[in-house]
């Protein structure tokens, strides 16, 4: 009998010892009671700050929804575009709700969910720069946020055009708008949502839209540490639920509005 108890105790101890090793990021978030989201806050209407400096925007609401689904408190961690991965890898944040384009190159490092939003790119220019459409960027001074989807596409075309066309990469979106408003650059390519928000806001004088940029649709995904399949699985289902419960559409109308919310599926292929 005593021997039987000994075996049972040993088995119990083994299970206890094995437990912490089983806990993954999803468990950690639920246990800690806080979901820390990396959100870019100089990228309206996805993320910005209101008059009393509180974070607002599509991505902020999306983070809050996710926290609610997980039953925890949401904590928005302001993260500039280039700092998203260091923030994720160093464990400063749990997920990135930060309009991250899902390139294959980046997927070698970070774990990507299915798309939660999709952007169309437009040219943003200054009144009087003589830029009407994408083709007239040839020979102009352009710039964008270094390393983003649109920056990579624009820089490629700038190199192909040659002949005095220049490209400058800045560290954040606010600096690009500042450089454009001041005249350091004559045009940039940004997501249509950001462009219309910036033009409507009127903080930077004289900025106008200069037509669509002929790029592929920029699908953006949530990001999490690459090996956290449990968390990524949860996030995928969460995105799916956001669409089918109509919350995605509601958020689109609240923050962007005008027309249909972008279609997040591609016909002819599974994800």
């Amino acid at each position: 009998m005593a021997k039987g108890i000994g075996v049972l105790t040993a088995a119990f101890m083994t299970i206890l010892a094995a437990m912490p090793a089983q806990a993954d990021k999803l468990d950690d978030i639920i246990a800690s009671g806080t979901l820390r989201c990396a959100v870019v806050l100089d990228f309206p209407p996805m993320g910005s700050r209101d008059a009393s400096n509180n974070p607002i925007g599509f991505d902020v609401d999306y983070c809050n929804d996710l926290a609610k689904a997980l039953g925890v408190k949401a904590e928005v961690v302001e993260t500039p575009f280039p700092d998203r991965i260091p923030a994720l890898v160093s464990g400063r944040v749990d997920v990135g709700v930060a309009s991250t384009s899902d390139t294959l190159e980046r997927a070698k490092t970070a774990g990507f969910t299915i798309p939660y939003f999709a952007f169309k790119m437009v040219v943003l220019t200054k009144d009087g720069a003589g830029i009407k459409d994408y083709a007239s960027l040839k020979g102009k001074k352009t710039g964008s946020v270094s390393g983003t989807f649109e920056a990579i596409a624009l820089e490629k075309d700038v190199k192909a055009w040659g002949g005095g066309t220049s490209f400058r990469g800045y560290q954040n979106q606010a600096d690009v708008f500042l450089a454009l408003a001041q005249g350091q650059i004559e045009a940039t390519v940004v997501t249509s949502t950001v462009a219309s928000a910036i033009v409507k806001e009127g903080k930077y004088k004289g900025l106008i839209m200069g037509g669509d940029a002929p790029y592929d649709i920029d699908y953006v995904a949530l990001i999490a540490p690459r090996q956290e399949q449990g968390l990524l699985n949860y996030l995928n289902l969460f995105i799916n639920q956001q669409v089918r419960t109509g919350r995605y559409k509601a958020l689109y109308e609240k923050w962007i509005g005008g027309g249909e919310a972008p279609n997040l599926s591609i016909s002819g292929v599974y994800r």
Binding site: P82, R106, K108, S146, G147, R168, D175, A179, G183, Q227
Partner: protein, 220 residues
């Protein structure tokens, strides 16, 4: 931290980073040469009898030494930009660092001039040397000996300051290239580690060769 390093793709980007390092070195060297010229003028101006020159030199030195280099470079680009003066990223960075170098070196030179006793000049003059001849043959060699090491320090500092060029859109110096590779692939740690090694090697090479030159130059 669960992170597996991918060194192979990072090492493949090394040639691009080394070209970036060349731009970094170019900015640093140019900013030092220009900085020395401005610093000599500032050091002379600060001892001038004309108060406007003195005030100008003092405000330059005060601003350069007591505000962040980041602020100085940002002002050269976006600050001047708001007045409708557009300078490109490279000259803006160069101007910012030159401003900083000149401020620090001016104080170094002023200190150097005070370190050479007046009696040296008087002794040289009493031996029959002219004003300029005495300065060139007696004062200058002693002055140079005093300011040499602070100057090499400033050179290293200038190299490290060039990394601030990314905030004004410079994307072809070492930090610019590194940051571009980083955001494209998200392999932050590999690229930044490589960049750190390259910065270290450049700075170390500068210090060691300066010491070697000093050994040849300052023998009695």
């Amino acid at each position: 931290m669960k992170y597996t390093f991918h060194w192979l793709p990072a090492l493949r980007a090394l040639p691009d980073m080394l070209w970036g390092a060349l731009v970094t070195l170019e900015v640093a060297v140019l900013s030092m040469l220009l900085g020395v010229v401005f610093a000599v003028l500032l050091a002379l101006a600060s001892q001038s009898r004309i108060w406007i020159l003195r005030a100008f030199a003092t405000s330059w030195v005060e601003l350069a030494r007591n505000t962040p280099a980041l602020f100085q470079i940002y002002m050269a680009y976006f600050g001047l930009g708001s007045f409708g003066i557009y300078i490109d990223s490279f000259p803006a960075l160069l101007a910012g660092i030159t401003f900083n170098n000149a401020g620090y070196l001016a104080e170094t030179f002023r200190g150097g001039m005070r370190a050479v006793p007046d009696t040296q000049m008087r002794a040289a003059r009493s031996l029959g040397m002219g004003q300029i001849q005495a300065f060139r043959l007696i004062v200058l060699p002693q002055l140079f000996r005093v300011v040499y090491y602070p100057m090499t320090n400033q050179m290293v500092w200038a190299i490290l300051m060039t990394s601030l060029g990314v905030v004004v859109g410079l994307n072809n110096d070492l930090t610019g290239v590194t940051q571009e590779l980083n955001v494209r692939s998200f392999r932050t740690f590999e690229y930044f580690a490589l960049a750190a090694v390259i910065y270290y090697l450049i700075a170390k090479t500068v210090t060691l060769s300066a010491r070697l030159i000093a050994w040849r130059l300052f023998r009695y």
